[in-house]
């Protein structure tokens, strides 16, 4: 016997969550774009998607956010911190790869200084993930040792029922349990068969690729030039990545007052490493692409013991020139001895 949430009771759950003080955020379609947005009812959700085009990261690490307001006066500088709102949030219909992305980024935002802007949002959010029953040709979670029902980063996991009536609900964390408490009357105790999971083929041997990447002899390999030749140096792969986390600090305002902001930045941009002197240590696109791959599959693991890729495949799916992590790691796996 397990707990079942029926499709028909989803709206009741939404109401219950809202009365318990949660905002409900789910994949939705608007303005010709699929992304995570606040929804009013189950009808607004786009749960049929393999993945929304934009990631859940947007709600934890927004593309631009104010950090502090400042005013420079004659004798002093006044500052006022601009922390994110305190709202409790339910993320419903997240995919395991997006959820894992949050977990992967946690150590980065907390290893020496605990980033309040990230953790305040993390602590106020409950991630309700739906296991995947379908995948597209770009999905690659299984290649990075995750999978269509991997619990990493999720508070509740929903397994779609075979007959399509709803989901089997499995709580994974205390936060998940607390959320479930609010909707117990809407759930059924029932035995039901869950649908079979998406079949996501393994596309590369990540261990082998990591060994190749770790070999200093390959750092200057001609491979990097070859593989990144067509890269146009835009930031779409990084900005649509659930784990990419680089940012830039900008002061916006005039001479005496303004707002200090945290904006997404991308290692694909030539400006990313440009020095004031005019010297640019990563002055070619191949160096920048190498950095992206090395960071994800070597440096990040070295520091935090985990790869910075959750296998969502957005980098390839959305690339204007059909590049991405999959192709690069496939090529490495094929050529590595």
């Amino acid at each position: 016997m397990t707990r079942i949430l029926l499709n028909s009771r989803l709206d009741d759950c939404l109401s219950a969550w809202r009365s318990a003080g949660y905002r409900v955020i789910a994949p939705s379609r608007s303005n010709n774009l699929t992304s995570f947005d606040e929804v009013a009812s189950a009808a607004d959700m786009a749960l049929d998607l393999v993945l929304p085009e934009r990631t859940i990261k947007d709600h934890f690490f927004p593309q631009t956010e104010p950090l502090v307001r400042y005013e420079i006066k004659k004798q002093q500088i006044d500052t006022e911190e601009m922390l994110p709102p305190d709202d409790k949030r339910v993320f419903f219909g997240v995919r395991p790869c997006d959820a894992a992305g949050l977990d992967i980024d946690d150590p980065l935002f907390g290893w020496d200084y605990k980033d309040q802007y990230w953790f305040k949002r993390r602590e106020n959010s409950v991630i309700v993930t739906i296991a995947c029953t379908k995948a597209d040709p770009f999905c690659m979670c299984t290649s990075v040792n995750l999978g269509p029902d991997n619990p990493k980063g999720s508070d509740i996991m929903l397994h779609p029922l075979k007959d399509g009536r709803g989901w089997q609900m499995v709580t994974l964390t205390d936060r998940g349990k607390a959320l479930l408490e609010t909707v117990v009357p809407m759930l059924q105790e029932d035995a039901a068969e869950t649908a079979s999971l998406a079949n996501v083929p393994v596309k590369f041997d990540v261990e082998k690729a990591m060994t190749w990447l770790a070999d200093p002899a390959n750092f200057e390999s001609h491979f990097w030039k070859e593989i990144s030749q067509r890269c146009i140096g835009c930031g779409s792969c990084t900005f649509l990545c659930p784990t990419c986390h680089c940012f830039d600090i900008q002061d916006e305002g005039d001479t005496y007052s303004g707002i200090r902001r945290k904006n997404w930045d991308s290692c694909s941009f030539a400006m990313f490493t440009m020095h004031t002197s005019g010297h640019n240590p990563r002055n070619t696109q191949s160096m920048r692409w190498r950095q992206r791959i090395m960071h994800k599959f070597n440096y990040y693991r070295g520091k935090f013991g985990v790869n910075s890729c959750s296998g969502c495949g957005r980098c390839t799916r959305q690339c204007p020139v059909d590049m991405g992590i999959t192709e690069t790691l496939q090529e490495i796996t094929n050529t590595a001895k």
């Binding site: 947007d58 709600h59 934890f60 927004p62 956010e65 104010p66 307001r69 601009m82 922390l83 994110p84 709102p85 949002r121 916006e252 707002i259």
Partner: protein, 149 residues
């Protein structure tokens, strides 16, 4: 009773004609609306569309760009180049919903002090009637508030 709305208008003018015209208006003791902040530039050819965007970013309700009549440019061709640029830029602003009524262009020579005063009064009245450019200023206000995420 609330104060009547007084628009903020930024005028980008060339130094050889329109600025001299404005100067003439002043020395002739003509009265014109104090709503205009004049920014003097060497030539209309120097007036980048960026200036217009910056003025709007900083809260202007209207913008005036003004220079020498065709044929009178101190640098011979600056205003001809500027004219083409404005033609295209104006169409672009209009297409993105920035009303044409808020972005004005004029030719005012050094001798046209009276025209300058009249024009400023006319534009000020027109933009006062339109009201503040709230749609654009709203974008700035949003930035200054806490993140909604």
């Amino acid at each position: 009773m609330s104060e009547p709305f007084e628009p903020k208008i930024v005028a980008f003018v060339c130094t050889y004609c329109t600025y001299a015209g404005a100067d003439l208006a002043g020395t002739s003791r003509m009265k014109y609306a104090p709503n205009v902040r004049i920014v003097r530039l060497p030539c209309t050819g120097r007036i980048s569309p960026m200036f217009i965007l910056k003025a709007l970013q900083k809260g202007a309700d209207g913008v005036l760009v003004s220079g020498c009549h065709p044929g009178d440019c101190h640098f011979a061709q600056g205003n001809y180049h500027a004219r083409r640029r404005w033609t295209v830029f104006r169409a672009l602003l209009s297409f993105t919903g920035i009303p044409e009524e808020r972005i004005k262009f004029s030719w005012i020579s050094a001798a046209e002090g009276a025209k300058f005063a009249e024009l400023i009064n006319g534009i000020t009245d027109e933009i006062r009637a339109l009201g503040p450019f709230e749609q654009y200023q709203e974008l700035q206000k949003v930035i200054e508030t806490q993140s909604t995420y």
